[in-house]
């Protein structure tokens, strides 16, 4: 099986994540879509590490995982705080700031 398929798969996952961020309404789901994008990047990195015969791509995937974990900590704290106030995590209801 050629590694190119993995690249296509990861591009597909990244696109699904990006579209999800744009069309979904719940902040948690939007955030999960962003995580999907990050994991698609991980797959790309590992595939390129295989193609290039170079380990640094695999190491970079670990860095991305650590950053994603830190992002979850900060992101869920912020989404929690807004959910406790409004009893909803819908990004459409956060519309006080405009124009």
């Amino acid at each position: 099986m050629t590694p190119t398929y993995y690249l296509l798969l990861s591009a597909l996952l990244f696109t699904i994540g990006a579209v999800g961020v744009l069309v979904r309404r719940n902040a948690i789901v939007v955030f999960m879509c962003i995580e999907l994008m990050l994991n698609a990047v991980n797959l790309t990195l590992v595939t390129f590490a295989r193609i290039n015969g170079d380990l640094s791509g695999q190491v970079m995937a670990f860095f991305v995982m650590v950053v994603a974990a830190a992002e979850v900590v900060v992101g869920l704290a912020i989404i929690m705080s807004i959910f406790r106030t409004r009893r909803t995590a819908s990004v459409d209801d956060s519309n006080l700031l405009k124009y």
Partner: protein, 527 residues
Amino acid sequence: MSTVLLLAQDQPLPPTPKVEAPPLTAIWPILIVLGAACVGVLFEAFLPRHQRWPAQVVLTLLAVVGAGLQLAFYLTDAPAAGELAMFGTLAVDRPALFLWGTLLALSFGAVLLIADRSVEPGGAFVATAAIRPGTLQDRAQVTATGMQTEVFPLTLFALGGMMIFCSANDLLTMFIALEVLSLPLYLMCGLARRRRLLSQEAAVKYFLLGAFASAFFLYGLALLYGYAGSVRLSDIAAAAAGTDRSDTLLFAGMALLIVGLLFKASVGPFHTWTPDVYQGAPTPVTAFMAACTKVAAFGGILRVLQVAFEATSWEWRSVLWGVAIVSMIIGAVLGLTQTDVKRMIAYSSVAHAGFLLVGAIALTEKGLSATLFYLLTYGFTTLAAFGVISLVRDSSGEATHLSQWAGLAKRSPLVAGVFTFILLALAGIPLTSGFVGKFVVFEAALADGMAPLVVIALVASAVAAFFYLRVIVLMYFSEPAADGPTVTVPGAFTTAAITLSVVVTLLLGIAPAFALDWAAGGVFAIR
């Protein structure tokens, strides 16, 4: 497999490679800032509540000043061509040192604004962020004297991330620095004492859009890794200079990477978060974010464009032309329609990001030094602007609606005068730093053959000057409303921050030569 094992048994083990500790002289400023941030976290854990504020303020200011002194000390015998630190992941060259100095000076002013407790009793930050807005406890805490002192270590972490960001020599370091600078800012945006719903909404928007943009940056990184087999900027440049590798990977990767960077720098059309976040965040945080993030983001953009992608500039330059034009027009035109002074400054920052991009795509030494100088001038002017905005208040907090600013000159001629000076500097009137900054950037762009872009930039700055002048007219030639806002007399911290910024703005407008010389001290180290 078995033969390899047999061979390994036959031969003596190779000598362990000697790992030398990297020389740290060059990066002491970063280590001081990040070390102090860790100490600040320990303060939060171990000090009793009433001792935290003084301890954190002293620690933060000492760290910023100490890092600045260390930087000045290093500058006395820094190698002119720059050097690499931390196994080549950080390039400490002249532009990086200039940006570090700018960041430290700006964040000194921003920390003074953050630490201020005279304008708003207890400070601009919420006493306990975990309390739900709108409840009885929340109404009680508006007048409470405490604040979440975690803001200080968060500021230092963000500052450390910014300093790493503008000297990162490979894309992975740049990505980590991007997150280290962004994550504390997301949190700080949501900590306003008043109008907490707006503040939390700003934090959610900034977080979701920021994480979205960093995912794009990361995918760009991955594609460029696939293209060049390395994420080191100089390796990408070498791969792009002459190979038969896939151009698709190079340009797709580069586009995604640049989108992530332009988002951080709030260049239009990637600016959508800017007005909301600038308006909702606590004003001292907005000042920090507007001044320092812009400096760091453009530091990163300059380095990526000039080090990694210079060889392919023929292909991408026209696209960034378009982006710069869009950014200048969005900033100038939408700024006209704003009724909130913080949002107006936010759109002004989008227009300024367009001007900065004009300087950044002039891939010459002159373009580099002009953009660095513009960052210095813009940072201090914005810092002063938000410092003044935090002073005009009514019973519900800051009075940011423009109609409330009518006739301000009659209530407080001094504050109106200072704000007028700042607005003139943002508009780029002579004798202010804004004029010199625009002049050098446009001159560099002209010298690099971008005359049409300079003409558009001049038109955009004329349009933008209109909405700055509108505020000046409003302050001087309207009658103040009977129940209008009052101007708070600031304490030592805010006074010091505003004075520092105004003096720098004036000084760089009258005698800019010394700062221009610093900015022109050298180019990026390409290794």
